[in-house]
Amino acid sequence: MENTFEPVIVGFLCNWCSYRAADLAGTARIHYAPNLRPIRVMCSGRVEPQHVLAALRAGADGVMIAGCHPGECHYVEGNLKTMRRFYLLRRLLAQWGIEEERVQLVWASASEGNILAAAVDRMTEQVRALGPLRWQQQVLGADGQPSPAPLSREESAHAVAERAEMLP
């Protein structure tokens, strides 16, 4: 049965590069997966881990952060800060059993509409293969038993306990 799951991916696009790349892809009528829902930020450095988690919690199956190539950031080094936060965030998500492909960091300059379109297509297929995220069951263990994260039994118990106090 052909996999008809349509993933929803939230995209944080930086105003100067990746947002304009998406504009260019549209102007050039490059067709790509309509699964990405872009949100404009002035710089990819504005995106906080909190935003990524909020998107996943609010039902997104994946989050893409897209900024200018290192060295080309309109604000000189905003994207370098993004890179640092991103690798730390991904380790956190892994501990909650969220697959790496679900949150991706992509570089696309204003003239690279095709590259961004290809990245969206690729990520859509990857997340489609992973299936829906179902944050509730996956992370919060809403239906009682802890999430089937690839952690050892003790680690997941510890994670569940830790999470319990964290949430309001």
Binding site: R20, D23, P34, R37, C43, A58, G59, Y75, V76
Partner: protein, 665 residues
């Protein structure tokens, strides 16, 4: 949070309506919370469309407006003005990009409509949290910095100076004049380059509104439009400019002669103390420390001894000075592709293969051969000359682009050879003869009339391995004459290569220093290739001439004047309205951890040790939001991109997949 939001879904003719069910989106939007009115219309950006919004604001008391149409980069300004004219603060407005990001990017009508709803919902949830903001007026310093003293930089400087604005012109070489000063004649009018350029250079040298820094480089730039602080390093010439009369005796008497790799393109010689060319502006010579016997071995003070005014000063030091300017024009020019990268053309190995720049110096009356066209032995005139087009241009292995001017100057060379060596046979090897300018095609016809042999074919190799009779001792140009479909071997005495125009090797560093982008080939990136070629993504920073891409002299002059006009416009305004998108630190929440201080590339965050808190200098802040994201205690808010607004937009775009229990939170 109850607001009266007006939602307007644009058809954009069929651009959006062709893929997105705009009526359905409008109907659906009408049912969303906080939405007072929702309409769809053929062309929202038309005056009628804008009138719709203005009328609704006045009659229905709208407190927020959402327009779902094209990219904000296209019409955000238009609709903000509409709101302002109707009495609504322009920042209480948000656009949903359902054209470039949606209808144009997919054929799937159902998915496009769903995506449109998500983007509209995101915009509605966001706009509810918008706060009224006022743009910040910023004072424009009327002084301007022009970097690069070629024809583009000279034109820009003169246009501004003649308008009464002060200009600082910084040039890396000892004299202004740039690439054009090295040329002899210019196409298609055969004006002598020096005759039309030198008066401009003199005008720059004497202009009371132009401060000229030659043999100098910009080391550092900080600040923003209207308020740039520029650090210029004026390299030591070891000649005191206040004493030097420019008499040139030092150059005459200096015993050390070296090959002139700079202005002379490696074909002529110059002394260790030299002026690049007689009409140099300024007229002060420069000591080439690397080749000067005194600086290398401490002996020989010939120049100091003969100097009538004692202007030679060996221990002169570099000067570093700071200047304040409002705008910057970059006109840093280009360099020539080095044909040694194509070994089969033999440049550097076969004596009588010359580059175009070497030939320009040769035919120049002030050049090493006083304008006589001769072979590398400096004596014998060539009986036959081959001029090779597209050397390193239109070639994936080197530069894919066409360098625009080589066809024309190659024709010029053919003419000069016919004129000075009348019985010489001249061959031009081309792929396409490109003569796009005014009077250019006519010039080509003139060369046909003068008997030039035009062979359509890209030269495969230049070799001295003779094979057929009559090839001994000659350079053989092997090429396929594509119009007769046969391979030909044409023996000539001299070969001139017309190499591609290339960006400076350090163009990427220069771009980073001034904060603008470069394309794949190293040419500076303009704000818009068609509609805004002289501006850049950074306000107050403009580009002109070949630093933006290959072009001929008329275009470089045009761009120089255009950049000057843009700067004059800003200066005339006196102040310019800056986007109010800035960061602000809530002092009560700031724990003084100073994480934000080092984050800011514009050093816009200062720390008050007494109060133990940091503060954002609003004027310096560019609004990127990196500090907002990094602040552990969320003490920094980013106007127009607050966390509340972003969180609302996230939840809005996920309206159809949001888990139930989150909805009422």
């Amino acid at each position: 949070m109850t607001e009266r939001v007006g939602v307007y879904v644009c058809h954009c003719g069929s651009n959006i309506a062709g893929t997105v069910d705009v009526a359905d989106v409008a109907r659906w939007a009408g049912e969303q919370a906080n939405v007072a009115i929702a309409r769809d219309y053929k062309f929202m950006c038309s005056s009628l469309g804008q009138e719709l919004i203005a009328a609704d604001i006045r009659e229905k008391g709208l407190t927020r407006v959402v327009v779902a149409a094209c990219s904000p980069h296209m019409h955000e300004k238009t609709f903000r003005n509409t709101c302002a004219q109707a009495g609504l603060n322009p920042y209480l407005f948000e656009m949903a990009n359902i054209r470039e990001h949606d209808s144009w990017a997919t054929k799937d009508r159902e998915a496009a409509t769903l995506k449109a709803k998500a983007l509209v919902k995101g915009a509605i949830e966001r706009v509810v949290h918008h706060q009224p903001l006022e743009p910040l007026p910023v004072f424009i310093n009327p002084n301007t910095l022009v970097v690069g003293g070629g024809i583009a930089g000279i034109t820009a400087a003169l246009e501004l100076a003649n308008a009464g604005h002060h200009v600082y012109l910084v040039e890396r070489e000892p004299s202004i004049g740039g690439r054009m000063a090295q040329l002899d004649k210019t196409f298609p009018t055969l004006d002598c380059a020096a005759c039309i350029l030198t008066p401009r250079m003199v005008e720059v040298g004497q202009h009371e509104h132009i401060t000229l820094f030659t043999y100098s480089e910009v080391e550092q730039v900080s600040g923003y439009v209207g308020n740039f602080t520029v650090t210029v390093r004026k390299r030591a010439r070891h000649v005191d400019e206040s004493l030097c009369t420019g008499c040139g005796i030092c150059e005459e008497k200096c015993p050390k002669r070296v090959i002139d790799e700079g202005f002379g393109a490696g074909l002529g010689y110059r002394k260790a103390i030299y002026r690049p060319f007689p009409q140099a502006v300024p007229k002060y010579p420069v000591i080439d420390v690397a080749n000067c016997t005194f600086f290398q071995r401490g002996k020989c003070k010939a120049c100091q001894i003969v100097c009538p005014t004692g202007a030679i000063n060996y221990d002169q030091q570099d000067e570093v000075l700071q200047i304040q300017v409002g705008n910057i024009i970059l006109a840093t020019g280009h360099v020539l592709f080095d044909p040694r990268r194509i070994p089969q053309y033999g440049y550097g190995r076969l004596a009588n293969v010359f580059t175009s720049l070497e030939f320009e110096r040769m035919v120049n009356a002030a050049g090493p051969t006083e304008g006589k066209i001769v072979l590398r032995d400096g004596v014998t005139p060539p009986r036959s000359v081959a001029i090779v087009h597209c050397v390193g241009s239109r070639d994936q292995n080197y530069h894919e682009y066409c360098s625009k001017v080589c066809c024309m100057y190659s024709l010029k060379f053919a003419h000069l050879i016919h004129e000075r060596v009348p019985d010489a046979e001249v061959y031009n090897f081309y792929i396409d003869m490109r003569t796009p300018g005014k009077g250019y095609e006519e010039f080509y016809h003139r060369l046909l009339r003068e008997g030039t042999h035009f062979v359509r074919g890209r030269v495969a190799e230049v070799t001295d391995a003779a094979r057929l009779p009559g090839e001994e001792g000659k350079l053989i140009v092997q090429v396929e004459d594509t119009l007769i479909g046969k391979q030909r071997r044409i023996p000539v005495d001299m070969v001139i290569l017309s190499p591609a125009m290339e960006a400076h090797a350090d163009s990427r560093e220069i771009a980073q220093r001034f904060g603008l982008g470069c394309d794949f080939n190293g040419f500076f990136t303009e704000r818009h290739p068609k509609l805004d070629p002289v501006a850049t993504m950074t306000e107050g920073l403009f580009i002109a001439g070949t630093c933006q891409g290959p072009k001929d002299i008329p275009e470089s002059v045009t761009q120089g004047a255009a950049a000057a006009a843009r700067v004059a416009g800003l200066i005339k305004q006196g102040t310019v309205m800056m986007e109010p998108v800035r960061a602000h630190i809530e002092e009560a929440l700031c724990s003084g951890c100073r994480i934000c201080n080092t984050l800011c590339p514009y050093n816009a965050i200062v720390f008050h040790a007494d109060r133990g808190v940091s503060e954002v200098v609003t004027a310096l802040c560019q609004g990127c939001g990196t500090c907002v994201a990094a602040c552990p205690s969320q003490a920094i808010t980013g106007a127009h991109f607050t966390n509340q607004q972003i969180m609302a937009e996230i939840e809005g775009v996920l309206w159809d997949v949001r888990p139930a229990e989150l909805v009422e939170a």
